[in-house]
Point group: D3
């Protein structure tokens, strides 16, 4: 029997959407006020979903305590109260859109999970905008 | 790399569930107090989900500004503060159940999106009742 | 020792804001799309707050079971899935604004509670608009 | 046309995670404070999702009134305000993890639904931890 | 200038409402299924509100880091994943109603705060039932 | 009859807590990771509450359309997607704590409202931290 367990986490960060080689006008045209050079920020909510077999003894797909620790180490600690563009190396040459943040988080968590577990990451940039990435 | 972006929207509307050729008794038997001839209403919450390739340059599946505008034009403007049975032509001969409202919204948005994007619509009639439609 | 207990309830209803003796233009000017003659609707959320002494034996200000039953009888049953303007007599000559709905609910509940209990009613017309009435 | 309808429900219960044949130390090592022998509890939120064809006449996948009644009879009544380990027979020899509670609920509801309807159960143990089971 | 800062916290616990010297019948009559002798449980949400002068230098009423630590030490640590009736000494001879839990929390936190700060505690037993206590 | 109407609004912004004349060590000691010199950010939620007499004709305390416009002009437009420290003049010499942001918003809105209306501002920095200011 397979089930999916979901764990929510949270971090607050500043970011700016822009492409270095574009002019300010072009950046504003595509990214609007999200390209503000002085940055703006969000309370990011994260749902990490892990699908796999339910262990018949423990009744667990994965020990949530361990999942919580992995999320803390690999996402909350390096991202919380940070400026994503400046302080998080993965976004040095990658635009920190919700899509790209979800992909970066997925890649970091994927390495820490057993191969037989399927991983999905949902990142809420605000209550109205969010993104799901499944590694496809 | 494929991701799904989700955008929430909102409209308030009145509706009534009933089948014209049925008696009031039959309508009440099937639809209960939702068949009240004087109408009742809801704060409808809508989640529009669009799945597609992440543009390697911008980091966007779709520009959310554009998605927001399409939802405003095609859903919020024609549905908000309206009586769905009387004022929205799509429900002239279609019972405005949450299922049918989701289908109508999906059909309207489908026309406005590039063919390579997959569309899912989730419509909340209340916090306890909601419906998902994927065009299947 | 005094405490305040709060109980949430819910009803869905249709309404229209307008003043009978005003022209349609004047009504639209003041109430905007809320004056749509075909009605629109809301999922109304209600918080009923009762402040009083904590019974030293039971540890209750009021038995929530009883409060829940009173709210059901006096608010949910007569308001849920109704057209407030047409089907709820209190709004025959009273504009069903959130303010007035809160006042009507407060008046109905006030009669059913012991005199030493203070009553506050908060009515959510939507997640963004709500009203509090304390009988002042 | 296929759609998925979702209905939310709720119950409050006490539980304890542990494996009878393990020592207290081993149970604490694996289940942490969730293995407290005096029990702890949760407000469990449940989303039941049913996918099937939309009836072209009624516009319903399933009458939500009926779904609500089935959930009440088979989940809320036997689980609400209960000690899952002691009072719910399905957990006599099954650890009441969120995964196992979701599986037990799915099995109970599956029997009551038409064969052509697909069933998914999502169980929230808290706002941060939840589980999805689809009978796979 | 005075402001009120609010901090949310959370704990999961089991409890049972009953008066020792009453019969089971009397307890059931007053407390309903909340008097189940095998316990049930809740995800308790807590809002701690502290009102006082805004420090003109820091812009703080109170350092939220300190408030968070006090709540953790005095509420979350002793209450989380506990059976309130059996494991929390304050409820040995006090019925663990939401009112009484709020009062106990208020008393514990009051001792840790400067005298010039006003304290209010709001305890959510569920999303529908909650209680406010201000030490009056 | 007096009632209080509440209107919610929203803005996303970057900020940094620090006192210019303090060393980095002192700032970190008092403000923790909130003093990160590269900024971090939040989705700020705002509730504006206005208490006054209910107009016996319209049933309004204040036309919410007007209140919404004032909030948009005076808060959302100047604060949304901005760096509060750099781009909002009120925080040039004022630490942008939640308390101070609430006070600045209250002062701006106070000027736009009739004298007989009482104003309260609640600012959510995150779902766990928020502040209320009443002009006292």
């Amino acid at each position: 029997m397979k089930a999916t367990v979901h764990r929510k986490a949270h971090f607050n960060a500043a970011h700016r959407l822009f492409i270095k080689e574009w002019t300010d006008e072009k950046n504003f045209e595509v990214f609007g006020k999200c390209s503000n050079p002085h940055y703006h920020g969000h309370n990011y909510d994260l749902t990490v979903s892990v699908c796999g077999d339910v262990d018949p003894k423990t009744g667990f797909v994965i020990n949530l305590k361990r999942l919580k620790d992995v999320i803390y180490e690999d996402v909350e600690l390096p991202f919380d109260h940070k400026n994503l563009n400046i302080e998080v190396p993965e976004f040095k040459d990658r635009n920190p859109t919700a899509e790209n943040i979800a992909i970066v988080i997925w890649n970091k968590l994927r390495e820490k999970l057993r191969d037989d577990l399927e991983l999905t990451v949902t990142l809420y940039e605000s209550q109205r905008n969010f993104v799901t990435y499944r590694g496809e």
